[in-house]
Symmetry: C2
Subunit: 159 residues, 2 copies
Amino acid sequence: MSITLFLLFLLACCGAGATGAVFQPGAWYKSLEKPDWTPPDWVFPVAWTTIYLCISFAGARVAVLDGNEFALAFWAIQGAFATLWTPVFFGLRRLKGSLLVMVVLWPAVAGATWFHLQLDVWAGLAFLPYLVWVTVAAALNFRMWRLNPDVTPIRPGEL
Amino acid sequence: MSITLFLLFLLACCGAGATGAVFQPGAWYKSLEKPDWTPPDWVFPVAWTTIYLCISFAGARVAVLDGNEFALAFWAIQGAFATLWTPVFFGLRRLKGSLLVMVVLWPAVAGATWFHLQLDVWAGLAFLPYLVWVTVAAALNFRMWRLNPDVTPIRPGEL
């Protein structure tokens, strides 16, 4: 595996990772009603860091293989929509809007897992933690939306 | 060119495109000091739509070619950082932060242009409008940061 390619895919992950750093949850997130299986706060950065390392490894593995077109197209989709989720949830407080992001993100991760697996078993396996996590995150987003019907969105254009 | 691949890369662009739709500029943007060469508002969605169509075409062209690893890694980086820029600028009002995003986005677009051009001349040419635009956008971001030293950031976690 090329270390340069690994670092380039990891740089793409930093786009999504940066949203977690700059859109802080704060008191508002603490005040949300959450299902009792919500992971503790420290799990989120640990999970995402693990995922970013794994999918950067996966991207670097398949990038040099013939027939990687669908694997890398799905890789690019998940990268953009993973970057979109946090600003919509924490920046705009649009719980339904972020669920719509999940409607694209979940199939993008599932597709990426599938197409990576077709090319390289280690790359496919490296996407599995992400598939598990995005399933949990989508379920959590859905439950939070249903449990908190009265959240007031932030409208930055009106502030 | 595969229409399916074109649509998949276009879907990735929709992540960045959605930020323009949900993070509206509003009165705050109008009130910013801007250089006199700032394009009128209508130019932005037209430019971005053109760019998204062009780079989706470029991605679909190179995705089926051997040796596409750097082209598609840079494609993925630009997709994530293009999605990051708008929430940082309009959602957080962090003009210096969004300039830092540009510090990654500009080389990502330049790298994508270069590596697409090595594989396929049409794909490389299709990235050129993006390279021109992101150069203008980075210059504009820099000037706005310098002209508006007293912008108060939005801190969603504290609202």
